[in-house]
Every structure is written in structure tokens, then in C-alpha cells.
Symmetry: C2
């Protein structure tokens, strides 16, 4: 029996590769710098194939032990056709038959999907969403997205682009968003916006979100308030999700969720104040469990599902 | 073969009863005044039973020709247990085993559901939603709600209360809403709010929405602007729905949709400006087809579905 899957999690900053065991554990991993491939698609595919080969060699896991390859990509992906429609943070990737290109190079059956869907699948089978039939898994990072598990199924939408929670407007008038709209949730809590905001507040051009987290950890009042504002916007968008979808669970993942200790209480307070009583009373809001491995583990879930 | 179903559509103002044929046509109907029963649940049940008897007698359709009774109720309903949890516009109805009470009185198998779900089922099988797998059916009226057909199934949520589109906040700060929250879509476009707004603009305490519609029909600038504002709020909430759920279709029903000719263009304009290109390009926004009969016809769909 083939025991492993190869998970590949493509991000705007780096590309993670990991061999995932049948119980959903990442047994070996490596990482590439996304920027080094940006301009060249062939180099990108070859770079991934090379890294995969090295990973297998290192771990003495052969091609024939690998059930399949699952790839998460940060953007609009057609998992049925295996085509990358558009990646907002990696330029030049439009309508690329990514699945075929990588499969031809790796010689292992390959499936591709949106990265947030993979995180959701990972959390569903092996993380915070285990056993739930109706939940929303949110990722707060450079992009803000969500995966929707509804009626015990990952809901993909008519054209496989459902879940764009970051682009739900939270105000009728609001800041311009990278998507072309305005007032979107992401334009209040996306990493880029938060870093800009942090630079201004703390008068430090090179500030990182970890710095603001550390400041909050040292009881810096403005840093605590900074996270409280993130939580308020998050609570506000979740009120709509709870009233519309009546989920049993909301999972909060992505880089910003590392500050969950400064977010959780305010998010829950807003939901209690503002959402309808019955759906609010049956929803639990929790931090994601799988951390940075969620995408790789979700790739494993997708491969298993597709190979059934 | 049993040919008919008895549909009952309970509204805050009146209760419609109709015998629906197997092809989804209302062949005979009657109407009761809701307010006459408000305070007395037994009278309510008996009143409905009496009206149903009269309807059958009139049409020479016997009990044995009726497959079942389907009831739509304006509020939170548990269709599995057959219990009415809460009706915001009909006081005193809390945790009532409505299905059992009515079934005992009528001696015909009875199913109950939220009224908007029935409208959605009706439009899905016999109206504007025919053949669609992913769509949202909105009702704009005293209450503002929606039914969600996702992955070719009516999505009900964890506790059967999904679809409360009227209570998606469209602003982080906004007017108090009857649900206890604030800034909800319904608090901008619900009938009560619109009538209040119309009374002020047109300095007429007794103005009805039909009057504002007629004024717009006569090119009254302020009336046209009135509907344009309704459309703008509607477009704004739909942007979030389109980005989140990537539906193929949005159906707009309910009383306010009678003004669709003053709403459609602006709604579509806002969606084009503000929603993400891919989901926006694949969604069609249309007016509901079944009008006032949608609930009765949907009751028929529910009865057929449950009796399979």
C-alpha cells in the first residue's frame, strides 16, 4: 500500500513541501523561496520537482510509496481542470495548466486546489474541525480567505471560487481593496494593511506583526488596542457569517491567528452583542490546530479523497 | 394517486391557503386575517382547519386526494421536530409543536418550514431557479431573508436557521435592528424602515410602498432616488454573498421586488463595480417568477420531497 502523499503549499513568500504519512503527520519537509521562481514558470515547476526528489532521497521514500501529490495555490484555481486561473500575489500566473505541467515533471498523480480549501480539509480531518458538518475555516494573513464545510461537504461554489470572506464588504463606504472593490474585510485586516497601520502607530517603517504581538505581550496599550481593532473587524464580519450560514464552528487560522489570545475575547464579545441569539448560541469560535502544517496535511486529505 | 397538496403560507398580515396540483399550480385558494388569531393558538389551528375544510368542499377535492399539508412560517422553525421556535412578527409563538397540533386537527400528514425556504423550494422547482445548483433566493419584505441552494441542496445550517441575509451587517456602525444587532441589511431595506423613510420624504404618514412605487412610475425624482437607495444597499450586501458563495443565480422576491424595474440596474451596477470579477461574471440576478404563490408552491415541493 502506498503510504505517503507529497504536499506542496505555495505561498507568496515561500513554497513548503512535505511528505505526509497516512495518519496526517508531516514526516519530512523542505522549503523554497517563491521569489526566485516568480518570473519563470518552467523554473518554478523544475524547482519543485528537484526539491521533491531531494526530499524523497533524504527520507528513503520512493516514488512508488507515494499515493499522489497535492498542491495548494494562493488564488483562483480550477481543481477539476487542474488550471490556475489567477494568483493575486504571484504575477504572471494566468490560466496555467499547472496540474499537468507538474504531473508530467514529477510522474506522480497530482491534484491542485486553492490553499485555503486545503487548510480547511486539513483542519476538518485532523485538526479543530474533526467531526463537524457545518463550519467555516478562516485564514488571516496576507490574503484573507475561508473554506466552507456545509452539509458535511467542502462547498466550492459554481465556479470553484467560493469562500472569499476577505472580500465581504464590512462597510458601504470604505478603503479601496486590491480586489477592485472597497470596504472589504481584507482591506481592514490583511497583513499589508496591518503592517502599514503598525508602522504609523509605532513610528517604525520596518515593523513586523510579530513585533506588535510582542509589544502586546508586554502590555503595550497601543499594541493591545491594535489587536482589539483587528478583533472588532473580525467579529463584525463573523456576525454576518453566523446569521447567514448558521455554522456550528468557526476556525481561525493564518499568521494573524498567532495573536488569537488578543483576538478571541473581543471576537466573542461582538458576536454575542450583535449576532442573532439562536445561531450565536450554537457556534464555537476556536483557533486553528495544525498551524503551518495545515496546508500540507490538507493536501494529503485531498489526494486521499481523489484517489478513492 | 394523491394529486394535491394543501399549502399554507402564514404571514404577519394574512394566512394564505391553497390547493396545489401536481404540476405546481394553485388551483384554489383562500385567505385568513392573521391578527384575528394572534392571541389564541387553538383558535389559530382551528381557524386554519376550518378554512381548509371549506376549500376542499368548494373544490370537491377530498382528504384522500391530498398527499400532505405544507406550512411556511415567518420565523425560526425546526422542520425536523416540527416545532416553531420563534416568530418575530407574531407574538406568543415560542417552542410550539405546530406540526403535531395542526396534523391532529386536519388528519393529513403535515410538514412545516421557514417561509423563505418554501419560497426558495418553489422557485427552484417551478420558477426562476429551475435547473440551478447554486443559488440564493432573497425575499425583501417586512422581514428580509434568503434561502440557500448549495451543491444542489437546500442548505439549512446546523440548527435549521441559516439564510438570515437580512441580518448581515452592511456597516460596522449603523441603526439598531429588531434582531438586537445593528447595521443589519434589514434595518436599511425592511418594509417598516422603508415606510418610515417614505413618510418623512413625502410628508405623508399613511404612505404605502405601492404609493412610492407609483410615484417612481410617474418619474417623481425623489421616489426614483428612494428605490435607488434600496438598490444600492441591496447591491452592497449581494457583493459579499457573491464573493463568499459564488452562486450562479440570485433571485429577488418578496413585496419590494415589485419595484424590481427600479432596482435591477443599480443592483447590477454595484455588483459589477464592487464584486470580484470571476464570481461576478458568472452570477445572474433576476426577479422571482412565482410572485405571491411561491410559498404555496414551495409547500407542495416540500410535501412531495418528504413523502418520497
Amino acid at each position: 500500500m502506498k503510504k505517503y502523499t507529497l504536499g506542496i503549499d505555495v505561498g507568496g513568500t515561500n513554497i513548503k513541501l512535505g511528505l505526509v504519512s497516512s495518519v496526517g503527520k508531516v514526516v519530512s519537509r523542505t522549503c523554497l523561496d517563491t521569489s526566485s521562481f516568480k518570473s519563470n514558470k518552467n523554473k518554478f515547476i523544475q524547482g519543485i520537482a528537484l526539491a521533491a526528489d531531494e526530499l524523497m532521497e533524504e527520507t528513503k521514500i520512493n516514488r512508488k510509496d507515494i499515493l499522489g501529490v497535492g498542491v495548494g495555490l494562493p488564488g483562483l484555481v480550477d481543481p477539476v481542470k487542474g488550471v490556475v486561473n489567477f494568483l493575486p500575489n504571484i504575477s504572471g500566473w494566468k490560466n496555467i495548466p499547472f496540474k499537468k505541467l507538474l504531473q508530467d515533471e514529477l510522474k506522480i498523480p497530482t491534484v491542485i486546489d486553492n490553499d485555503v480549501n486545503l487548510v480547511t480539509l486539513g483542519e476538518w480531518q485532523f485538526g479543530a474541525g474533526k467531526g463537524y458538518k457545518n463550519f467555516v475555516c478562516i485564514t488571516l494573513g496576507t490574503g484573507v480567505g475561508s473554506g466552507l464545510v456545509l452539509n458535511n461537504d467542502l462547498y466550492r461554489g459554481e465556479g470553484n471560487v467560493a469562500g472569499e470572506l476577505g472580500h465581504i464588504p464590512i462597510n458601504e463606504k470604505g478603503p479601496k481593496c486590491s480586489c477592485g472593490g472597497w470596504g472589504c474585510f481584507e482591506s481592514y485586516v490583511g497583513n499589508q494593511y496591518l503592517i502599514e497601520k503598525g508602522s504609523k502607530i509605532f513610528k517604525n517603517k520596518n515593523i513586523q506583526l510579530e513585533d506588535v504581538f510582542n509589544l502586546a505581550n508586554h502590555d503595550n496599550v497601543r499594541a493591545v488596542q491594535f489587536w482589539d481593532e483587528v478583533a472588532t473587524h473580525t467579529g463584525n464580519v463573523l456576525v454576518g457569517i453566523i446569521n447567514l450560514l448558521n455554522p456550528r464552528l468557526i476556525i481561525i487560522g493564518g499568521g494573524v491567528s498567532n495573536s488569537y489570545k488578543y483576538l478571541g475575547a473581543t471576537i466573542n464579545k461582538i458576536v454575542k452583542q450583535r449576532a442573532m441569539k439562536i445561531p450565536a448560541s450554537m457556534v464555537k469560535i476556536v483557533k486553528a490546530k495544525l498551524g503551518d502544517d495545515a496546508g500540507l496535511i490538507g493536501a494529503h486529505v485531498l489526494v486521499k479523497e481523489r484517489s478513492r
